[in-house]
Amino acid sequence: MSIEFRKEYFADERDDNLNEVGKPTQRQDALGHVTGRSPYFDDHLFDGLLHIRCVRSPHHHARIRRIDTSEAERMPGVVRIITGKDVPHNLNTLLSLLDFGLDDEPLLSDKKVAYKGEPVAAVVAETERAARDAVAKVRVDWEELPAVFDVEDAVKPGAPVVNEVYPKNLFVYHGRYDHQKLRYGDVEAGFRQADRIIEGRYQMSPIEQAPTETCGAIAAPETNDRYVVYTSTQALFFSLDTTSKLLKTPSNRLHFIGGTVGGGFGGKVDSLHEPMAVLGTMLTGRPCKYIFDREEEMQVGAPRGAERWYLKDGVMNDGRIVARKFVGYFDSGAYTRLSSYAIIKGVGHLPGPYTIPNVYADVYCVFTNRTPATAMRGFGITGVDFAIEAHMDKVAHEVGLDPIELRILNAYRDGDMKAHRRLAKNTALIECCQVAAEKAKWPLSQAASQASSLRDGGGERGRLPAHTATDQNGLVSGFTAQSYAKKSRATQPSATPPPQMARHESAPVTPRVEQPRPQPVQPASAPPPPPAATEQRHTRFSSISGLRRR
């Protein structure tokens, strides 16, 4: 397939002497893949390799009264059975490495399970079959609990408590609120000013990443009291640090080797296999492999989470959108993993590539008795983009405007102020719409076909709203004890947003819009900037919203 470049656009902003960008490049691993020589983690063979399989909850929500492993221990080929008490630090949250969120998930649960398939014990055996046979002999005495599967049911008073670390079934943002806020201008005033109000509800389902190679890792003893780990991980240092934390083992004793990922798509960042494989090796002194089978990959492997969005637009009769309000619910499943972060990312993206003077969002990260959700290709953005674009079509239909015209009319342009209080630059939605219409032979009005991202932006559109309506809805208490919350609070009223992220500049390209140093404009109750590094104790790399500390 040939690529068509439309170089007439933004010609003066582009350096056409780049070595890679705009040129077809062969993937560095393509040759290995097509010749069958790419080494995957499971291609590393060890003499005396042991196999790990987990005993999993058949219930969506249940208390564990007792785990009886005595019969399983006597099964032929069984070397060791691991339960929660064998895990040195049996509570973690993936993003604790970034100082974001509270530890809420055990490696092997010993008190309660909150999703179907949650592991409560692991069998280490000579063969995979022996491990399976022994798993079938582990007796767990369950006390089934009522379960909740719908995000809005989960936040109702009296709903079953899914995740005891967050008793309201809501992740706590910045130690202060049970949701992530975005406040820009005054949506209620915008709605009063609008000719009509258009509302919509949008629901996305979880999506399994379905990699060809299921998630797994092999650990083996190495010299100098170290462990070597071959893993399918997509995030080697996540896995390394998570293993180090769960097993209370300095990371210099863990020799992690990644490399070829047999399909990831976000599903291989959760780092559950490496700590289990290393733990198996620590307890047996032998190489151990822990790998999902296909059914586990589908049932237990974390998918892209479900999202529900309510959108409410204030629209003028000519199609201009003057206010847009979002209420979003991310289904995080039973534990946090990465949904909390997805929301930060998603809220920074609102209200989509449009310039709307009044924007409001309340986005909830909700715990339900479903499989924990994690990363998948553009997560945090794709779901709400679906909602936004479906809603744009609905608005176009209701005001009787062509859907592409509506998008061009409301598109952001260079120099416009975005709801996250940065000036838009290098915008190109208008040009994308024009080319798409041209390719589809879709007629556009003269005004729409002559519009440009370079013109008519900035000025009044580049100013922050004179007034932003703020509130304290969803304020929580009792979340100050943990470091991330404390830090957040300590720096919260900081009026100086962190400096701009370093960019990789290439050649003499002049940016269309000079990004002003952020004015000390009062950000009102805008989402507080991420915890700045007032205490250097745990801050290692960039903060969660991608703003680099320097």
Binding site: T127, R129, D293
Partner: protein, 272 residues
């Protein structure tokens, strides 16, 4: 327990070993059994193989074709006497599957698999079981008690060859093409005499726990000329007495809605 493999040279020995053990599975081409091994199926611990060359041959016998249970889909596609079955065998799996999957194994394929068994059901085949309980039975009867026959070894299947190949029709409805599994498959044998259908047999796959006859459709067609009115009447009865399953590919409702559409196209001889 580790999985044990036993290999036999003679059909009788294999049949005896299979019937003697409740935890044994017969390995045809392995497209179902080895998948179960890989997925850690704990319901069996012994795999029985057979090397008898007779088990893999196709021969004519009167008006019928005797197909060894070990014949692969690829061999069926390549056999000139089995030309009427080639369109069925050709849509089962991809080339790798067709090189391994066997006729006997297909009789036990459940869920969205087992397209050949649907065709054999419409054609009125008989199934020969090997060993001490050696006997022959209509495929209808065999499929009805399929689970009970899991410990018997199918030796061969005898298929009456349709006199006019145009009277046998088959369609497979799948979401993915090629290589998709069946959302449903429909096979129909529509012999005509004096311009009227005589002895119609219509069978569905993936519309129940095993391949099923569409009795109401057959009755509606019997004695009728295969014209638009008769086809409409038959299509209206497409799921009469049938409760289609809900699975990953389609809901029961969807299957019930579209069965008549696909049946109508098949009966009218429309290309899909």
């Amino acid at each position: 327990m580790p999985v044990k493999v036993e290999t036999y040279d003679r059909v009788e020995e294999a049949a005896r070993a299979l019937s003697a053990s409740r935890s044994a599975r017969f390995l045809g081409g392995g497209t179902l059994v080895m998948r179960a091994v890989n997925a850690g199926d704990q319901s069996f611990d012994t795999i029985i193989r057979l090397r008898d060359p007779d088990f893999r041959t196709i021969r004519m016998q009167g008006d019928g074709l005797v197909i060894g249970a070990g014949v692969t889909m690829a061999a069926l596609v390549a056999n000139r006497d089995a030309v009427f079955l080639a369109p069925v065998a050709r849509v089962i799996g991809g080339p790798a599957i067709r090189n391994m999957a066997t006729v006997g194994g297909n009789l036990f394929a459940s869920g969205n698999y087992g397209d050949l068994a649907v065709a054999l059901l419409a054609l009125g085949a008989t199934v020969q079981l090997a060993g001490s309980g050696s006997r022959s039975m209509p495929i209808d009867e065999f499929l009805r008690d399929r689970d009970r026959h899991a410990t018997s070894l199918v030796q061969s299947v005898t298929v009456p060859r349709p006199r006019d190949p145009a009277t046998f029709r088959f369609t497979k409805v799948s979401r993915v093409k090629p290589k998709g599994v069946s959302l449903m498959s429909i096979a129909a044998l529509l012999p005509q005499s004096g311009g009227r259908v005589q002895g119609a047999r219509v069978a569905y796959g993936a519309m129940g726990p095993m391949p099923l006859r569409a009795i109401a459709v057959e009755r509606a067609l019997e004695g009728q000329a295969l014209d638009a009115a008769a086809i409409d009447r038959a299509a209206a009865l497409a799921v009469e007495g049938i409760a289609p399953p809900t699975d990953a590919l389609a809901s029961s409702w969807y299957r019930a809605e579209v069965a008549g559409v696909h049946l109508k196209r098949l009966l009218a001889g429309e290309r899909r």
